[in-house]
Symmetry: C4
């Protein structure tokens, strides 16, 4: 029986598909079509377990948010495309009465209205309650102990203001220019993967939000929407940048870059902090509870070495990428090229020497190397060196990671950044409230920005400068002496006045 | 029908007023008079929602504490004053049986007696339990994450004493002189807005408390009582100062200043840290829960941009105020002029050069720019520079924010302050216990002051000097490395000896 | 009727006494005798309320622990001693069925056995559970926010070891000499007041414990036992020191000092950190709940100014004591004289210049000036200055406050102390377990001492030196930036693996 | 009656043994043989109580895990070996229905499967739940307040990365060489005592795990398995080292060392941080609750002075060991000799001068001297001094304590270590999951290592160097100012948006 001709009119039946439900022969249905993934399974970047869960069944709902539309076309050999299935004959999975999902639906019913969100943290609080657990785990997780992920915002708390008073701040203009593009406020929407996990429409919602507030969106390589969908969602003149994972096959990379340039992208951001995609244990744990409950073997040889994933990924992301590839990039595009993920001053200097237009000081949102320093800390290390050499205008500096308040943006600009990238907060706003959420999140930042520009005593961003901040504690990575457990336990803490139980009369 | 003539003898009926209960036509009753606020509503600094809640009804109770008596006279056009209403015809709002309010009344019934308050924190603890939630939120809130608000007191904890021993401290005199006025103890009651939120009598209670303990009161521009009420409450010879928000209309400002001088004010404190009034999210959230529960629209276009408030406020507070306005102030009054809200040494030097008599190092109680440094930290930055120039006696330095203990006052004086301003603690004492509360709060400070002057080994405030304190950690803004969540989770903490369950005999 | 003749055989009746139960006429019974305290009441250092509680009644149980036996003899005029009462006629107070006391008795029944205490903290944990609340509050409380009280131990946690290895430590000798007296271990039992609050026998238990372990006891001026009782409890050759509060009446002081010398005391420690006894709010709160529950007046004029207490105390402790009194002390005794409570290097230098034999760097256990630095921190400030001048052997340095571990003792000795004073831990051991508790506490310290001398690589205390410790963080008084409340709230912490709910078979 | 002849065929009866159940005559059964321990009891390093618990009974189960197989042969005089007992006549102890044990068995039944462990902390979390309380207490406890034990891992959190980007890291090789042996990854299994407490097979499981991952195992002197059992468990060519406690009797030591050399050990690690074995209170407390519940005497003279234990141990571990013994060690073996437990730079220099091949910077896992610094901190102190002298290649530096992540290993190597020792994590993995647990733990480290080598931008361990880390905060031992209890209590924390309770329609 040859099922490989997709044009054939005879649809497969659900019963036929259902027979192929094992590691030996594994078919799955996606969007009404059947695919034989038996051979592909061991190479699946997400592991084979999750595929086996849907062996012989309809996997569309699980597949959809985490794969761009053209995934199967690109990565599964044509002869494994077995043609259409008659969906009316496919048994509908009786959804188990999942109490966790019921609780989530209930939380959604009572979720706070949008007006109750007063800052970017609030969207995260709501998203945590209303998102699917696995989606939340994917967005919210970081590397190892998530120290760097949290440090990213915490670092801003070590920077304090030295505001000026008695400056005319009636009119405040916080617009600026990034790589030649005029924007309303000095942030851009940075690239984040798998937007459909949070919202069925995916990254195009961010495109619309960016348009509304006149800021730039950086399009991710690993988007849920295809690149063209995201570009198509932009309006005339709306500027987008491209975030690039460099493929081992440079022809593919070249095609991606040149296509982006043709479609009008105004900047190429090469990710350099991810030669291998990070382990995120919160994410792994959430997936385990999803698929692992039928695994009972604790024997040593059943240990998943994750080598499949590592190997599979290596075709998407080339771990051999190095400084000697830079000239080639400069040769294939006229877009400004920036490095995303630089983490020390030596590499910033080298980027300048290579003739690049900028760097993003970033640790990938704390998702790659734990104990990498925050972008803002690295910025404070970098700028004095650049100024000493008179190089501060030869490059545009950006930082991302941990930005949650307009004061954070102002701190970065005081220290010399051209702008900041913001990622997760918009994902959370989008996941909880869709476009209105993104809209409000951006508006809140604008409101905060106007207020805080006034309060620091500056009416334009070019007035922001290092004398307005105190960063003396920024590079201190202190832990305190482990707690005096017994001492704290025996200490009888002071209390406030207690309720009066008055004598009965 | 023309209601604009206030002299008319025909009173309006409650039923007539009740018809105007919508955005299209909105009348409200205040103190037995009717006002048409339909057109004014969008400009209301507090937003239109809160007005709509009282459309067609008696708003007196809500209006009273947050508007000085002459507000409507001043800000609502005369033709919108529709005359008196026959209050007997106004339907009494059946107060809903609010369980939260019932719980509060119960807490009031069992509130601690005044003698149970042993320090200034205690009044705050009681006030938190017995105040209306919205009033508490207004007083207790700060900017953004309230980091600076808390840092203000926390900063004092970074200053430690180097006390002298074997000094004769039998007689301790901690009186001092502020702008030429002799006071019993080196603090003054600083300006805080909306005193009637905490106590129906408002700021005059503070006037009486200040009198009793011979300290100076600074009268706030945004008081609930009118300026003259507060001055009238003072006794002969009692000294008051004026805190000034500068109006865009300088004629109004001039009138305020010169009126204050005529009424005997002895100092003019121009607020310079509030070109725009801060966003305080705790306050916003508390108001939302008060008025927002009938809002069901989560759409993006219903987002309240708060522009109404910003615009409205800008007539009260001029964001264009700048150094070049200072000579004009010097020309319109003979009162000493001080800047309230200076936050870095450069601006202190400039104030001296402008011929001003003093500055208050302040961040507005942490209600304006979050991550502004504490006044006491700025003081430690300022004084060495002044001393180096020999300028330390050309100006009087004050600090406010976070003062809760006599030791805090002593620390400020050791570092060079002439005195400190205390605000919230007296508001909380007043809100919980009225004048006796304020009286006890001040007395507790005096008791602590006498004790601690002895213990530091000084019998007069002019003996306080920098060698008596260790400030080496003051300017360090440290956060610790984000917590080792897993490590802390698996650590099995030491415990104290457990109860013995003896063997049965 | 004249009751003043104590020799009269006619005993008073309980009924007669019971009539004098008011502020106007107030009699109390102590140890079977009646006293008229009507006039004395306002001068009572502990306030009049507590006396009124026992007006017309037997106050023995309350009086006993907090007054030395000869108090009434000394401080109440003879004509107020009204003679004996026939105790059989005195109505026994029906003890209310106090649920708190019942719970305490139950805790005592199940208290851990002594062997379960493995360190000094453990005695505090037990004492907290089994002591009377007021007694616990008196012992455990400190000044203001109790910051210094806690810092005292915490400071030791900032000192880390640089131990030597491969040193022969088979035989470890940690005995030393203090003011010429050979002791087994370099600590002494420092002076603490009111020992009978914790144990009916009072300070003599400490005398016996000190004897057993061959350490010195410092006898407190404010002991529950009389001075002579404590000296009598010592065995032949057992060394004791005297802690002295200097009385305004120097004749009294002289008598005390010379009596102590005659009785064999070998050191005079003049307390210099307490010109006024500290306010301890935990103590005040505990007393309030004991006596204040019938007070319903919250009016301002009922405020207790505590002036009575301050005035009364001033006869016991002279706040005018100063450096110029030192020569007089040197003239009245041959005992070595040391200052207890010195808190900065300048005063140590002066003490040397005055010819004194030593100082105790101390802040009175954190009970006087809050934010005074710990003794151990001051020691690290003092010794380098002394060594620079070559004065390190001209004086003996002691520290007290916060010592809980032998490692603390070793740290102090490494930094230059001759020995350390330990107070509260022995009080708690005595309160929980009596003499066996004190014995075990001291033995535990000896066991720890032997172990840790070995582990730091020293076989005698004279080998302890500054290179064995790292004190670089000792003088840093850091607080962290106020917590990122919202950020911490939204962070989803990592968790350890969860229980497996295996599929049912 | 003479029972000393082991060859006799007449077995003893259980009833006969049961009579000897007191301090006066105490027999115990181990592995079917009877021993008279009456005289030995007071010398038992573990105290006499635990022996008395089994007087007249079968002690095998308790004895087994904490004594090497040849213990009784070695330490009990032959005439106390009373011969075999007829086990059928020994009364089986009715195991009490211990609710704690039942709960533990239940936790074991639901323990997470091995795949749920994603990092080394996870094994500790599982082990804590499934191990016997006393075994857990022995493994997990540290000295005094366990400050150093926790600092060991915490110290790594003060070291942050300065990663390089754009380095070709396709192939990552993290193998290295230790004392000439090629290993897969730069850690070794360090020596830890009493392996059978966690797993009935004991240390041989670690031998097998080390083999599988090609790393070195250090054999502990105090293993549960005998030395030869552990060597026998190794496969051909598998390298092991010997950890040595030096016996007072140097002949015994010589025999141990030379036997190890003959059996092929490739390194001798002399423990120098334990002249006396540490007090670990968590361990003591857990043992107390096991044996102490029938003790009711709280009298002072029943205090266990622990002198028995100290004296007994002193025959195993010689506290007089010193630098002058080193030449002797060099004379008796050709194995490289290293010192384990060096804690300051001075002693590292001396070790080099003595001609030793290496040191382990270690504080014995925080089990000996509390407030000893972490090995990694000492390493940062040592290496600059060595480099200054050009001595960095004259010795191999190792660190142990607190290593939990591959990033920790990388940090140590960046700072100059040749490798790190890991102990407890493998014990916990073994205790929870046996060999598969150890296997997975090691594999996880390898996975992390590969990933993080890539992310730091190094493809071989010899590229790791100090410029890749920021250690500026490493040597800061900070505590924060004691908490502002009242202030924190009255602060009303910010909250995230609350659930919406919508108006009913």
């Amino acid at each position: 029986m040859n099922h490989s001709n997709e044009q054939q009119s005879n649809k497969l039946s659900g019963a036929e598909v259902a027979k192929h439900n094992s590691r030996e022969s594994c078919w799955v249905i996606v969007h009404g079509r059947v695919y034989d993934v038996t051979e592909f399974m061991p190479e699946h970047p997400g592991g084979s377990k999750i595929i086996l869960k849907y062996a012989g069944k309809d996997a569309t709902e699980e597949f959809e948010p985490i794969h761009p539309p053209d995934t199967l076309e690109k990565y599964l050999a044509k002869d494994k495309h077995l043609g259409q299935v008659d969906m009316s004959t496919v048994e509908r999975e009786e959804k188990e009465d999942d109490p966790e999902e019921k609780a989530r639906q209930n939380r959604i019913k009572h979720m706070p209205i949008l007006e109750q969100c007063y800052n970017l943290m609030d969207f995260e609080a709501v998203a945590r309650r209303v998102m699917k657990k696995t989606a939340w785990a994917y967005y919210s997780s970081g590397a190892d102990d998530e120290i760097t992920m949290r440090e990213n915002h915490s670092a801003y708390h070590k920077i304090w203001f030295r505001p000026r008073v008695l400056v005319d701040v009636e009119k405040v203009d916080f617009s600026t220019t990034m790589l030649g593009t005029k924007v309303d406020i000095p942030f851009y929407v940075t690239a984040t993967a798998l937007g459909k996990l949070g919202n069925p429409e995916g990254e195009v919602i961010l495109t619309r939000g960016a348009r509304k507030h006149n800021v730039i969106q950086m399009i991710p390589t690993l988007a849920s929407c295809s690149f063209d969908e995201i570009v198509d969602a932009a309006e005339d003149g709306q500027v987008q940048w491209l975030q690039l994972y460099v493929n081992k096959n440079r022809d593919i990379t070249k095609k991606i870059v040149q296509h982006a340039e043709e479609r009008g992208c105004k900047g190429l951001f090469i990710t350099v902090d991810a030669p291998q995609l990070g382990r995120r244990e919160k994410d792994m744990r959430s997936k385990f509870s999803d698929t692992g409950s039928n695994v009972q073997n604790t024997g040593g040889d059943n240990v998943d070495r994750s080598q499949g994933a590592a190997r599979a990924i290596s075709s998407f992301i080339d771990p051999s990428l190095s400084w000697k590839d830079i000239p080639w990039f400069l040769s294939i595009t006229k877009m400004p090229i920036l490095l995303k993920g630089v983490q020390r001053v030596e590499d910033v200097l080298r980027a300048i020497e290579c003739g690049l237009q900028g760097v993003v000081l970033s640790n990938h949102g704390g998702r790659q190397l734990d104990f990498a320093r925050s972008g803002i800390e690295v910025l404070a290390e970098v700028m004095p060196v650049l100024r000493e050499r008179g190089w501060e205008n030869r490059i545009e500096m950006y930082v991302d990671g941990g930005v949650r308040r307009a004061t954070d943006i102002i701190k970065a600009l005081c220290l010399g950044a051209k702008g900041v990238g913001i990622g997760r907060p918009f994902l959370f706003a989008m996941s909880a409230y869709g476009l209105p959420g993104v809209d409000r999140a951006m508006q809140l930042l604008k409101d905060e920005m106007e207020m805080n520009m006034r309060l620091i005593g500056c009416s334009r961003v070019d007035q922001l400068n290092p004398t307005l901040v105190d960063t003396s504690g920024l590079s201190l990575h202190a832990t305190t002496v482990p707690s005096d457990t017994l001492g704290l336990g025996v200490y009888d803490p002071l209390v406030s006045p207690q309720e009066m139980v008055r004598a009965k009369l």
